[in-house]
């Protein structure tokens, strides 16, 4: 190639966003789940790195399969920050799908990480819960419900901040 095109901006952008998101989610986790700062940062970091990695893998899996028209839209978006209005709805769809998929990945990943970290399986398996008392059952389901809510809240906060940052940066770069 006569000239070299490097995805440096993407790397910087991703580092910035990751740091922000990890910080925000760690903060929310720490406040709501009453865990120490170090653990919340570690959780938040591993979960967000996991969803980012999955996102990249999805991109690399989908990109070769795209029909030429969509591929040109993708190239136009990545290289020139320009896309047809018809592609906007696709972007919105992808954004929403990303949100919900990362939510699911984070919820499942959270459980898995806890197992990994503490070395024992977590309680809410319904067979065990059957033998518990009513109060303990309610505690268990409350706990898992509050955890899902926390994850939802953490993701909502971090995505809001991401959108704000992207919006402000697009204003700054001009139309």
């Amino acid at each position: 190639m006569a000239s070299v095109v490097l995805p440096l901006r993407a790397i910087l952008l991703q580092l910035l966003l990751l740091l922000m998101v990890i910080g925000i989610e760690a903060f929310v986790l720490q406040r709501r789940l009453k865990i120490t700062r170090r653990i919340s940062i570690e959780y938040s970091a591993s979960i967000n790195l996991l969803s980012t990695a999955i996102g990249w893998l999805v991109l690399f899996g989908v990109e070769p399969l795209l029909p030429p028209a969509l591929k040109e839209q993708l190239i136009s978006f990545v290289l020139f920050n320009a896309w047809l209005p018809t592609a906007s709805s696709l972007f919105i769809l992808v954004g929403l799908a990303t949100f919900f998929v990362t939510l699911t990945v984070e919820a499942k990943g959270f459980d898995y990480l806890e197992t990994l970290a503490t070395g024992k399986k977590d309680e809410p398996s319904y067979q065990k819960a059957y033998y518990r008392t009513q109060i303990q059952q309610r505690e268990v389901s409350d706990r898992s419900r509050s955890r899902i809510t926390t994850i939802l809240l953490a993701n909502a906060c971090s995505y809001t901040v991401i959108l704000l940052v992207l919006f402000v940066s697009s204003l700054g770069l001009g139309s």
Partner: protein, 340 residues
């Protein structure tokens, strides 16, 4: 003199192995294998070279464990060793598939970095629960770095598949940065215009004027035919689909001016794409008898004797191909060229 002796002593202490079981032994074995491999050939050489690499890898791995190079609380050893392993495994493929080497490097380094946590005194063990999170973070970070490398190669693939993209300006991108070392290769449009010029010369150079005008009329009525005959010579790949060739005929008197525009209609920094223009003059050459040339073939010879085979002929002169211009193409100067 003393200074030199000191330096020699230091180097000797560094290189010579203090015991048979140390990293210096491995590095020396590696150098030995490399030298031996240079002296032989074929299979033995490859074998010795591989041994050389393996010794080097283990030697460096050991060295970085004993004398770690630390950057910000993290030993860089696994990445150095990982780089050596990647080069050893994939270095031969760097021309066909360079992505293998770069994408595998962080993954191999992560694998090397986590080995000490899984093996303790030659036995497999599970890593302690505290460190599991950190191992996960380490592995995932390296996966993401691999993804960054792969992204670079995906973009390279795009640029090779659609070379017309390179003429564009990448400043508005949120993702990439362009470091230009040399001016970019001329886009496909230049090839298209060159082929078009060749085709034009075949058809129109040194022909009788009436044929020329008939040909120009057919172009005016069916512009796609010319475009297709040019495009057909290019072969069918993704990028050719995105180039369009437009031919405009501007009447002069009595010559014609043919303007050809090759337009890139793929992704571009300008919504209208960019185009290259080449102008060709079709000049009427008067017949050698020196009588005044009549532009109209149907005009009966009035003054002077014009033998039927001495009608005017044509000559083509083509100008240079322009630099790529962004934005909307210029309007034609006249709507309908009239062919008299």
């Amino acid at each position: 003199m003393n200074r030199l002796k000191e330096i020699f002593d230091q180097i000797r202490r560094l290189i010579l192995p203090p015991s048979a079981f140390s990293w210096q032994t491995l590095i020396l074995l590696s150098v030995f294998s490399c030298i031996m491999s240079a002296l032989t050939n074929d299979i033995i050489r490859d074998l010795l070279a591989s041994f050389g690499w393996i010794f080097l890898i283990f030697g460096v791995g050991w060295l970085t464990t004993e004398k770690p190079v630390v950057l910000g609380g993290l030993s860089l050893g696994p990445w150095i060793t990982g780089a050596l392993v990647s080069i050893f495994l994939f270095g031969n493929y760097i021309d066909e598939e360079p992505s293998l080497l770069f994408v595998s490097w962080p993954l191999i380094s992560a694998a090397i970095a986590i080995i000490p946590h899984f093996v303790s005194s030659a036995k497999l063990k599970n890593p302690s629960p505290d460190s599991r999170q950190r191992l996960a973070i380490l592995i995932l970070s390296n996966v993401i770095i691999s993804c960054w490398f792969q992204f670079y190669f995906v973009i390279q693939g795009w640029l090779q598949e659609y070379p017309g993209l390179l003429t564009n300006d990448f400043n508005r991108s949120n993702f990439v940065v362009r470091l230009s070392l040399r001016p970019p290769r001329p886009p496909r449009g230049v090839t298209i215009l060159n082929r078009a010029e060749t085709l034009l010369r075949e058809e129109l150079d040194n022909r009788r004027w009436p044929e020329v005008e008939k040909w120009l009329l057919s172009i005016k009525q069916q512009p796609e035919a010319f475009e297709q005959s040019v495009m057909r010579t290019l072969g069918d790949d993704f990028e050719s689909r995105l180039w369009r060739l437009e031919t405009r005929i501007l009447p002069g008197n009595p010559d014609y001016n043919l303007q050809m525009l090759a337009t890139w209609q793929g992704p571009s920094s300008d919504p209208e794409g960019y185009y290259l223009v080449q102008s060709c003059e079709i000049i009427q050459v008067s017949p050698p008898t020196g009588t005044s040339p009549t532009p109209s073939p149907t005009a009966n010879p009035q003054s002077g004797v014009l033998a039927p085979q001495q009608t005017a002929t044509s000559r083509i002169e083509c100008g240079p191909i322009s630099q790529p211009t962004f934005g909307e193409q210029p309007e034609s100067r006249s709507e309908s060229p009239s062919v008299r």
